[in-house]
Subunit: 402 residues, 2 copies
């Protein structure tokens, strides 16, 4: 039974560390009350965390009985994490501290046409540049989270090239975790991050816990059906959100409009039909902001479909909140936000749903990637559950007569 | 701290009882291994369960070391639960044993037009008749689960009238729990029960745990949008599954067709426009089975929309399985099943989804209502989590110097 017991000890440590993080400052008695752990266990775990430099004592608080209690807080600069968002259009790198705050950020050209080995070598150099720019000791970096539309296949190669543990995830889920971690939504919130980059997806947290699904594909809202007789989608369905109104559909419609193509300066018209979607979607968004009525009409049409899919998702999951995030919402969010708000105010079956635009929509996935690394250090495996004292589990099995 | 500690003790008891149920037969050593609890705790908890008559010893199994181990099993007839499905068209009552097997079942006229007080009085009489028909001692009945499309408001009145603890839930969620409990899907399955009665909804289990949502409205798939320019829905939206293709929409279309109305013997044509939907939906389904092409075309059109909404739900949640259940699928499932299978085989983005028709679609909600009562006895509050030993939690907080 040494396996489960060790796992439980690690969970207890992580649970206490996360309680300190969430509380800001808290006393040992506060930790006993919040965790359900015994005083002896809290005392032992806290001593270990102080020895590791993760938690510091920080003065005294007056207790109600007049006795003064030593307060504890997270040492935010004891450890760091790196988040990398690998996208066709951009690679975004962030370095965050233990509290999840961004201390350094760089952004480089995307990796649309590079070979995997070249991408790994470049990312390792760019990670070095990120660490150097922040002046952080490499030994204090817990790991690297790498996220993309489809989880990358070169985790082991990147571990070798950087010497850092690497965790992989998809960008929409990472963005949702980043929103949750940064306190933009409640700790036990049931919400989705609608993520729009070159495609549309969603990251889903239910009661504060990530729902990835058994195959890791949950949140595939780009394949919500919005027209049973609609155009065929590569997924095999008809009338999916992605083919009706995703960024690629918006860009394709704009490229068919010669006047708009010229006015918006689209790169991918006739001469470059396979040019990246993201650059042209951004160009259309800029044209709309500058008053181009045809560009605005294309985006508003897209927003109606995205809003209908968002309503379907909110009804299916009983969502409390929706956050719009990702690079395409970063640039076109001001068009989509009012349309989604209006749809969910008017037409949600159960109750109002708060809809807002992420304040860090362009780097949310990278920040979330770093948060996933921090979670593995800070959050117990059975998230949201207070674990009773595990010390008695060392006791050998002894049966009393029935 | 007596509150949390008591809750944890109850959870430990429930966890052990549920392990015995799930295993069929299991030894005390098997329980230690499966639960992570200590031998001492297992010994104490099992002794209590045997004293209560819930668990019985049942012979010996040869262990690999040659030593014989006493095996334990659930005493299925130690306790019972009642499930009641209150529907406009029918009220269905089941009595199940502790293992969830139905030991008695009755079905009575629905309560569409009765006053709440009259419904409560009638249900109390019909529950008495159910208990009498099974010859079960009332003291062995753990409680009554009451489910309906919108959870009923007269729980306290029904408790007073029957003398039984009453738990309330919605019919779609209950049906999903019933499918899970009866072993039709895996213990940790991520699946939805698509429920069709007079309306369409879904009950959702994620990794074996019910997802009701913060307001209890999760699974509102009837308000999935399938046409952004579609007809208005009372929910405020446009093109919802319910208004395009739900049972009421099918019945309305059939009532507009004079020849079909006559052929199918619809009750609610011009003279009774507010007649219950369920009876006419059943009549249309019977006509389709007897070869009426117009009736079949209406149902097949409905099935295309239901299939599209099911695909959206499967994509959003990364479902492994879909079960069709409820009274309207009980009668028309043979039309809907192949259409849903074809859509999910062809068009699901991530992986295949198993689609099947519940073998007890007509009474699934009532069976699930009883299962909810049993769950409160058998499943720990933090479902799916193994709780370490809770006995040490009685230790008072003592702080060692940091």
């Amino acid at each position: 039974m040494s396996g489960p017991v060790r796992a439980t000890r690690a969970s207890t440590r992580a649970a206490v560390l996360d309680l300190v993080r969430a509380a800001g400052t808290i006393s040992r008695v506060g930790l006993v009350n919040a965790s359900g752990l015994t005083g002896g266990t809290i005392s032992t775990v806290v001593r270990g965390l102080i020895d590791e430099g993760l938690v510091a004592e920080t003065g005294h608080a007056e207790s109600t009985g007049g006795k003064r209690r030593v307060m504890l807080q997270l040492n935010h600069f004891a450890r760091y994490a790196i988040g990398v968002h690998l996208d066709d259009a951009r690679i975004t790198y962030v370095l965050t501290n233990l509290g999840g705050a961004v201390v350094a950020r760089i952004s480089r050209a995307g990796a649309a046409r590079e070979e995997p080995a070249a991408v790994v070598a470049r990312m390792a150099r760019e990670v070095d540049a990120l660490i150097d720019s922040a002046g952080v000791e490499r030994g204090r970096i817990l790991g690297l989270g790498l996220v993309s539309a489809r989880p990358a296949r070169f985790g082991p190669e990147l571990e070798r090239a950087t010497g850092l543990p690497v965790v992989l995830d998809n960008d929409a889920t990472a963005a949702a975790i980043g929103e949750h971690w940064s306190g933009g939504v409640g700790v036990t919130a049931t919400f989705a991050a609608l993520y729009m980059g070159s495609e549309i997806g969603a990251g889903v947290l239910l009661g504060g816990t990530t729902h990835r699904g058994p195959s890791g594909h949950a949140g595939a809202i780009g394949h919500a059906c919005l027209d049973v007789d609609g155009p065929p989608c590569p997924c095999g369905g008809r009338g999916c959100l992605e083919v009706l109104a995703g960024p690629a559909a918006v860009v394709a419609a704009a490229r068919r409009d010669r006047a708009l193509s010229r006015a918006a300066g689209l790169t991918g018209a006739r001469t470059r039909p396979r040019a990246p979607v993201a650059a042209d979607f951004a160009a259309i968004s800029r044209a709309a902001r500058q008053g181009d009525a045809r560009a605005l009409a294309l985006l508003e049409r897209s927003a109606r479909y995205v809003a209908a899919a968002a309503r379907t998702l909110a009804n299916a999951l009983d969502l409390e909140a929706l956050v719009l995030t990702g690079p395409s919402f970063a640039i076109a969010g001001s068009v989509y936000l009012p349309v989604l708000r209006e749809e969910l105010d008017r037409a949600f079956a159960a109750h109002p749903v708060a809809v807002r635009l992420s304040p860090s929509a362009a780097s949310a996935a990278a920040i979330g990637a770093a948060a996933i690394v921090l979670q593995s250090e800070l959050v117990p495996r059975h998230q949201g559950v207070r674990l009773p004292d595990d010390l008695a589990a060392d006791e050998p099995p002894v049966f009393q007569p029935a």
